[in-house]
């Protein structure tokens, strides 16, 4: 149990648990981050897979546990996601322990709409505290609100919190400690639609509310960004620049990390004199950790860009531009978010399909999402593209490496859409009710540094934890598979190997290891793709996580030439069969590998997520099976095509 968990448990035992409710774009998550900082943890609601965010906030009366509920426009649920929010707040539902109090974030610029959600939250008769956000923007757009009057009209505490203002947060923290002391409205707001409209009008007029002017800046920017021609062009350019940046900006940082771990490895080899231990420490442990840490800059940059685009408000515009295209794939615009999340990792992407109302759309999106290029494929692509073309080759002003990377992302996205389309055709006839598609277009805003930072931090942390749990274990197990059974000097001599020649010894050990047996066993399956047993070891190992492929190949190569693994990879030759003696990583084989990794479901975490979300083993098995067949066929085609070109 980590320290964080204990902190959470302590606050839970203290009994004060608050729920944070608000619509998307209402500044809810920014407030959550401001209150709880980096002390937040993610989990799941029992029995379902909707992400649960909890954090501990300090108040003047001690720590309280704050739970950030999924953003919603209404407590009248139309999806499983929304049902959870409603059940969590409803004492009558009896599903969960209700919180001691509810914090409702209301965007001051959209009060005419968001008071409707507040009316519904007040219906639960839980103590409610309103956090009014974006009051600075309201003022800038010539809107007016009288905070004390709003508090009197609503009958609940109202605090204005402008992002980044610690003074506002102090006032809020004073309130949070004891929700039982919050005032409760004398009369509950109505439920019937006509009466709710009347209630909103009367609350707003008591609070002297004047609707803000249309944000002129947003209107001007939208005129360009949503323009039929310029908007579409800018969308494509943005996405293209996105991937070029991840490639070029991260490169020097990655070189630094690589050199650092190379230096650590040389220290170990100098000071640890026991041969096998030195090899284990530098090869398995440092090699495994360093080989994955090296991709942290890229992952951090990816999440930095995604969270900035989201915070600015461009992601909603992108989904708006993409909606019609998504509908061609038999999906709705919301699926764009699930597929886009899959660019980071298919696991959250598959979980995001919960927001899709119909079961058919959910399954169709899940079957396509793993084909989107996830961050775990990035290390594999970087390694293989690096072997395929030199870093300085260019086509016009564009780097060829970045261009290939972009093509792979594009191919992944198109394939995901085609798969979703095919599965939505197959699933037709069992469709659920037609539910509305809607998407708020928030004004363009400058995201808070803290929110972006927390997003990047938690993405990196999640990646590192995955490294700790899966990749490191796999690397160590693989090192053992590659180096066992151990060979005695007598055995080596009788096999004609000079026991003093370390390269000859390690080559002999690997060639006769358990891993070699496994790699050779599956060789007939992959032979037509040009893969030899060493690549097969990597493919088998990458089932735990794709990025393991990089560590495995690195280890195989390091055994051949520890001083310079990447040159060793480049110079590797086929050991047996008709191609014996020829270079292993020829352009056709590299192309086949890239395409294989694009399509194959080489990720047990994704299989697990599919199992949970679809409720049975049927869909994950179908996904694994169809993706393997497509991967094999497409890799074979890529090998032939590139072979014909080169």
């Amino acid at each position: 149990m980590t320290r964080r968990d204990r902190v959470g448990d302590a606050a839970a035992q203290a009994g004060v648990r608050l729920a944070l409710v608000g619509s998307p774009n209402s500044g809810k998550t920014t407030l959550f981050n401001a209150l709880t900082g980096l002390r937040a943890k993610t989990g799941n609601y029992p029995g379902v897979t909707v992400a649960r965010y909890e954090g501990v906030a300090s108040t003047s009366a001690g720590s309280v546990l704050v739970e950030d509920l999924p953003g919603t426009y209404s407590l009248d649920p139309i999806s499983l996601d929304e049902q959870i929010v409603t059940d969590l707040l409803d004492p009558d539902a009896g599903v969960h322990d209700v919180p001691a109090g509810v914090l409702v974030t209301l965007d001051a610029t959209t009060l005419s709409r968001s008071l409707g959600l507040l009316a519904q939250v007040l219906q639960t008769e839980l103590p409610v505290c309103v956090v009014l956000t974006f009051t600075d923007e309201l003022t800038r757009r010539q809107g007016v609100i009288d905070l004390p009057a709003l508090g009197r009209a609503l009958g609940v505490p109202v605090v204005s919190v402008t992002s980044g203002q610690t003074r506002d947060l102090t006032a809020l923290r004073d309130l949070l400690g004891d929700p039982s002391r919050w005032p409760i409205p004398a009369v509950l707001p109505p439920t019937s639609p006509a009466e709710v409209s009347g209630w909103i009008t009367s609350v707003l007029s008591s609070a002297g509310y004047e609707i803000p002017q249309i944000d002129a800046r947003t209107a001007r920017v939208d005129a360009v960004l949503l323009h039929p021609v310029w908007g579409t062009l800018i969308f494509l350019v943005t996405m293209f620049a996105f991937f070029q940046m991840i490639f070029t900006v991260a490169a020097p940082l990655q070189d630094g990390i690589e050199q650092f771990f190379g230096y650590l490895g040389s220290l170990v080899e100098t000071y640890v004199t026991i041969g096998w231990l030195s090899s284990f420490l530098s090869g398995a442990l440092l090699g495994g950790v360093g080989g994955v840490l090296v991709f942290l800059p890229q992952i951090a940059l990816l999440f930095l860009l995604i969270s900035m685009l989201e915070g600015v408000g461009y992601l909603a515009r992108a989904a708006f531009l993409m909606d019609r295209v998504m509908s061609k794939a038999g999906l709705e615009g919301r699926a764009f978010v699930a597929l886009l999340s899959s660019v980071a990792c298919a696991v959250p992407g598959i979980m995001a399909t919960r927001t899709l109302p119909s079961a058919r759309d959910r399954i169709a999106t899940m079957m396509g999402a793993p084909l989107m290029t996830c961050s775990a494929r990035l290390p594999v692509y970087v390694l293989l593209i690096g072997l395929l073309v030199p870093s300085d080759s260019r086509i016009g002003p564009m780097g060829l490496q970045g261009l290939i990377m972009f093509a792979l992302y594009l191919l992944g996205a198109v394939s995901a859409m085609l798969a979703a389309w095919a599965f939505s055709r197959i699933g037709r006839g069992r469709s659920g009710p037609l539910l509305p598609f809607y998407m708020e277009m928030p004004p363009y805003r400058i995201p808070s540094v803290r929110s972006v930072g927390v997003s990047v931090w938690s993405a990196c942390l999640t990646f590192l934890r995955k490294v700790g749990k899966i990749i490191l274990v796999t690397t160590v197990v693989l090192w053992l598979l590659l180096n066992l059974p151990a060979r005695s000097a007598v055995e080596l001599t009788s096999a004609g190997v000079d026991a003093n020649d370390s390269i000859a010894v390690s080559t002999y050990v690997i060639d006769h290891s358990y891993a070699a047996s496994a790699g050779r066993f599956v060789e007939p399956v992959f032979e037509p793709l040009g893969f030899d047993w060493r690549i097969n070891i990597g493919i088998l190992a990458s089932l735990s996580a794709r990025e393991v492929f990089v560590a495995t190949l690195g280890q195989v190569a390091a055994a051949q030439d520890p001083a310079d693994p990447s040159t060793a990879l480049r110079n590797m030759t086929v050991e047996d069969g008709p191609r014996a003696g020829e270079p292993l990583f020829t352009p056709p084989v590299l192309a086949a590998l890239l395409v294989f990794f694009l399509y194959a479901l080489q990720c047990m975490s994704t299989v697990g997520a599919l199992r949970r979300e679809s409720g049975s083993w049927r869909w994950p098995l179908i996904a694994f099976g169809y993706m393997f067949v497509v991967a094999w066929v497409m890799a074979f085609a890529a090998r032939l095509a590139v072979g014909a070109l080169v």
Partner: protein
């Protein structure tokens, strides 16, 4: 239960007579403004209740802001914010166009 109470809501039509013959929201041209008269229940009342919660309340003013490059979806300004709906759902909302 709160969800049961909310699920039983019926969106009543706006009973004030507006000038001009009513059309559905998907027919309103970009730049035009209309007053929401009713939200129909063609595809199950869940949709009309959600449209109401999004601000498309009978009596509210709606402005058509812009259409997507491929004509669908459409961004509307209602209740002080902008929201995109597909035309198939905009068709459920009857409006009286402002002159």
């Amino acid at each position: 239960m709160v969800s049961t109470r909310l699920g039983q809501r019926v969106i009543e039509a706006y009973d004030v007579t507006e000038p001009g013959s009513p059309i559905n929201l998907s027919e309103l041209a970009p730049g035009r403004i209309g007053t929401v008269l009713s939200v129909r229940d063609d595809s199950g009342s869940t949709t009309s209740r959600r449209l109401f919660d999004l601000g498309f309340a009978p009596g509210a003013a709606v402005k058509v802001v812009r259409r997507a490059p491929l004509a669908d979806p459409v961004i509307f300004r209602v209740a002080g914010y902008e929201v995109a709906l597909r035309r198939v759902h905009a068709r459920l909302i009857d409006v009286a166009p402002a002159p």
